[in-house]
Amino acid sequence: MMLAAQGRMQWGAAATGLSVLLVLLVFFVVPVAKVFYVAFLDAQTGELTLVNFLDFFRTSLFRESFFNSLYVALMSVVVATIIAVPLAYFTTRFNFTGAALIHTLGVIPLIMPPFVGAVAMQMLFGANGSINLLLDEWFGFTIPFMEGLNGVILVESIHYFPFILINLSASLSNIDRAMEEAAQNLGAHGFRLFRRVVFPLAMPGFAAGAALVFLKVFDDLGTPLLLNVNNMLAPQAYLRISSIGIADPMGYVISVILVVFSLFSLWVSFLATRGRDYASVQKGGGGLMKRDLRTWEKVGAWAVIVLILIVVLSPHIGLLLLSFGTIWSFSVLPDAFTVKHYQEVFTTAWPYIANTLLYAGLAALLDVILATAIAYVVWRTNLPGRQVLDYLGTAAVAVPGVVLGIGYLRMFHDFNVPLVNEPLASWWVIIVVALMIRRLPYALRACTAALQQVSVALEEAAQNLGAGRFSTVRRIVVPLMAGGIAAGFVTAFATAAVELSAVLILVSKESDAPLAYGIYVYMQTAAGRGPGAALGVLAVIIVGVATYLSHRFVERTRAEREAAGRQAATGAA
């Protein structure tokens, strides 16, 4: 009887697990494998070989590219840390009115649409950008912010530091206050306290964020390409894959190496943080002691934060200037200001906006469904091999969008979708699927974290009252995970809305194109820079508002839950 019930429960879970696995295999593993297969072929004879990999390591250009990528990724982590740590510290440590501002504005950099961001940064920080023109005029020197690898590091760290900020803040606010008090009680305070107790405890969060930054930067294609930095791995791969008619397998070899190295670094960060998920060990919670700031401290804190935010939001500031500027060429500011770019965009951009909301929304929705299913199967069942789902879902973060896009073209072009009578590869749904796979890792992280915070006892209580497994998931687990699911949805949605690399390859009709593609098209013409920037601003606003609303939702559910928790605690005592 007991066994039978257990068995039935397992069947449902197994069916879920298998469906998820199937989705991941069909839309992720096989397409990517199809692309990677080329790396193992002799270009001339078509035989399987490893000689291409030998060529990779023999070529000094590739070795140099590899080290450049590594250097840029590591430095970006360092710079992103310098940006994120003070912001995280201020918001979690002090009763500070700027906290909400930081939390909202701190996420905005993640939703920088491609192309426009780099153009805006060039206008501000480039060799002849606003800052350098001013520096040159006033002091007679310039600073090469944007030259070569420096530029990549600057843009990447500004773009990706929120990953560290978000994870570190979460970690810091999960630290049991007593941990800190115990250290103070034993005589530690100030920086030593931070270094010896607070930071190590927040380390898992920091490591998770830093690993993500490292990975994204290491794999990132757009930024180096836009800054015309070619001596890095991702651009090398892309340039070679997308060259006309060239049969060079090196592009694919580099892709394989990118992915393998990314997976390796994921694994290292996993090993480094394994068994250190302190949040679950700590019982009290409640976050660090928050204290009020004295007036002069407040001024100082605001100064630091405003400075950081100005730097961090500079692409957006530049974007705004571009979108309202008439002509901006070799000058500190645009020659004049106008709203005509917005007028143009408002008349033409609605299909792009509608498509973006639809694609990113659907992809994010599918992501949280998949992610919840994966998290549940992995953490709440004992199906053999369930970890595979987690690994696959996470591994998607390491696969460049170009590779996925090409894989889809190869795999689904011959498959006609019934009713629509179009090849799957050129049907708009494939864009949603690509976005879904690309953003699954974000949703998976959020949902896994949320599920781990749901006590098993709550599920058992539901089952005890006669709820089946499905019903338990639907009525107890999912509502309790709502905050995490919403967070996952937001991250997936916001980042999917501005994704370009896979989209660029998969868009087969202009009427199917999302915003990122629209911006790309605008930015290909001299007259399109202003409207492109205006479209970029619209994208930021739309995604920003969506993010803010969901953030409010998350906060509210959390507040409700905490209130309920407090009540329960008082009731018990």
Partner: protein, 447 residues
């Protein structure tokens, strides 16, 4: 609460699905164009064509030339594109070579067979020229003024020391139009001299952009002052109001921008109608739109509406080079790869060597020294050196290394692209390093 949210999202999803799926199913009469042209150009033709043929919906699928070729190649097995519409004839050659284009005979009359020295249409009848473009130099007037730089007139001038770090261009492997420019100079000056010039210019480059539009974009922003661009980029930037200008150097190629029907096109009739429309006087006039600014291929227009444009049929643009398409095609990939290995990927080394040469030359000019001059000449020769000669670049067996598939099973090909590039890279890097060293020595002698 979240149930409501989910329901709302779900509803939106379903609505969206219906909205988007409906037109897709209903479209009997449409036309899918894969193009590298900017929106400013394509939109004008799309609107005019749709107006003329009500009920036909034109889909402009914007792809970079290289990506467009890739796209048509990858989707060939289940083709959904009707027309490929881009500048670079080479791209059409590649598609033609892969058997991915359909033959088409134009009904429109009054279009000459040649523009300058360049045949307007594919002799085999696969693709047609619809507009002419010439390559030239574009510059930012504010930039040149601020940096006190003279306006360059000829390609050779871009190699002058004053322009060090002020020039931008794209790579031939990235941009079909840039490939044409590079190939034109190689054919005009000859293999050795041509490469020497490109490397001398290469040493002055601020950057090698990833897209061809990256060059006008950089000049427009003032990121660099001078760019090697195709004419319409210059014209349209100027028309938009940027403080930029453009001129044709005397050695340039006038090449047609082309259009072709993709093999197994789903809408061949519409495709044909579009080509006819494009070549009709009506369509040709659209090229004169200030945002487009391309040279029409109907000579009569230069007498009327296109008076302000240089007339390529009357030699107003000096296109001295008789462009050899066969030659270009034979070594297409070799030239791309050579340029990348020697310039794009080794830009920093090349710039360092060039800087040293410029410095040494300046020093020697101030204080001549025969020994120094000799070293300097040696340094220049090292920078200019090309790993392979012209004959080899045209050797089909050698070029085959860079090709996708063997044509016949009996074709013997030795070596892999990566292997060859690696050898080139080693040679190039060593040469640049040595050149820098020699130039520094030369400069020291003049001190």
């Amino acid at each position: 609460m979240q149930a409501k949210l989910l329901r709302a999202v779900g509803l939106a999803a379903v609505l969206g699905l219906v909205m988007l799926a409906t037109p897709a199913r209903a479209m009997e009469d449409k036309l899918v164009v894969v193009t590298s042209f900017p929106k400013d150009l394509t939109n004008v033709f799309k609107e005019a064509f749709e107006k003329k043929y009500p009920g036909v919906k034109v889909e402009m699928l914007k792809k970079k030339t290289t990506a467009g070729v890739k796209y048509i190649q990858e989707t060939a097995s289940n083709n959904t594109s009707d027309i490929f519409w881009a500048s670079a004839p080479d791209a059409f050659e590649v598609l033609k070579g892969d058997g991915l284009l359909a033959k088409y005979d134009v009904k429109q009359q009054g279009i000459p067979a040649k523009i300058g020295a360049f045949p307007l249409n594919d002799p085999d009848g696969y693709y047609k020229g619809f507009a002419a473009s010439g390559y030239g130099i574009m510059w930012n007037t504010r930039y040149l003024k601020a940096k006190k730089l003279p306006v360059p007139q000829e390609w050779e001038e871009l190699a002058r020391p004053v322009y060090f770090g002020h020039v931008g261009m794209s790579a031939p492997s990235r941009s079909g139009t840039t490939h044409l420019t590079v190939e034109t100079v190689l054919q005009g000056l000859g293999w050795e001299k041509g490469w020497a010039l490109w490397k001398a210019i290469g040493g002055n480059l601020k950057t090698v952009t990833e897209r061809s539009f990256g060059v006008p974009s950089g000049v427009n922003s003032g990121d660099f002052g001078i760019g090697i661009v195709i004419d319409f980029f210059g014209f349209s930037s100027k028309a938009t109001g940027y403080p930029v200008d453009f001129r044709y150097p005397s050695t340039t190629a006038l090449v047609p921008a082309n259009i072709a029907i993709v093999k197994n096109a789903p809408h061949p009739k519409n495709a044909a109608a579009f080509i006819e429309f494009l070549l009709s006087p009506e369509g040709q006039e659209l090229l004169l739109d200030p945002k487009i600014q391309r040279l029409p291929v109907r000579p009569e227009l230069y007498e009327s509406k296109a008076k302000h444009l240089p007339n390529p049929f009357k030699g107003e643009i000096a296109a001295k080079v008789a462009f050899d398409v066969k030659k270009s095609k034979a070594r297409y990939n070799v030239v791309n790869s050579l340029f990348d290995v020697m310039i794009t990927y080794r830009l920093n080394d090349l710039k360092a060597a060039t800087k040293a040469i410029h410095d040494a030359a300046a020093a020697l000019k101030a204080k001549p020294n025969a020994e120094g001059e000799k070293l300097l000449a040696e340094a220049r020769a090292l920078v200019a050196a090309v790993p392979i000669d012209e004959a080899r670049s045209l050797d089909p067996a050698f070029a085959g290394v860079f090709k996708k598939k063997r044509k016949k099973a009996t074709d013997k090909i030795t070596g892999r692209q990566a292997e060859i590039e690696q050898q080139w890279d080693e040679m190039v890097r060593a040469n640049y390093a040595k050149a820098k060293e020699l130039a520094e020595k030369a400069a020291a002698m003049a001190r």
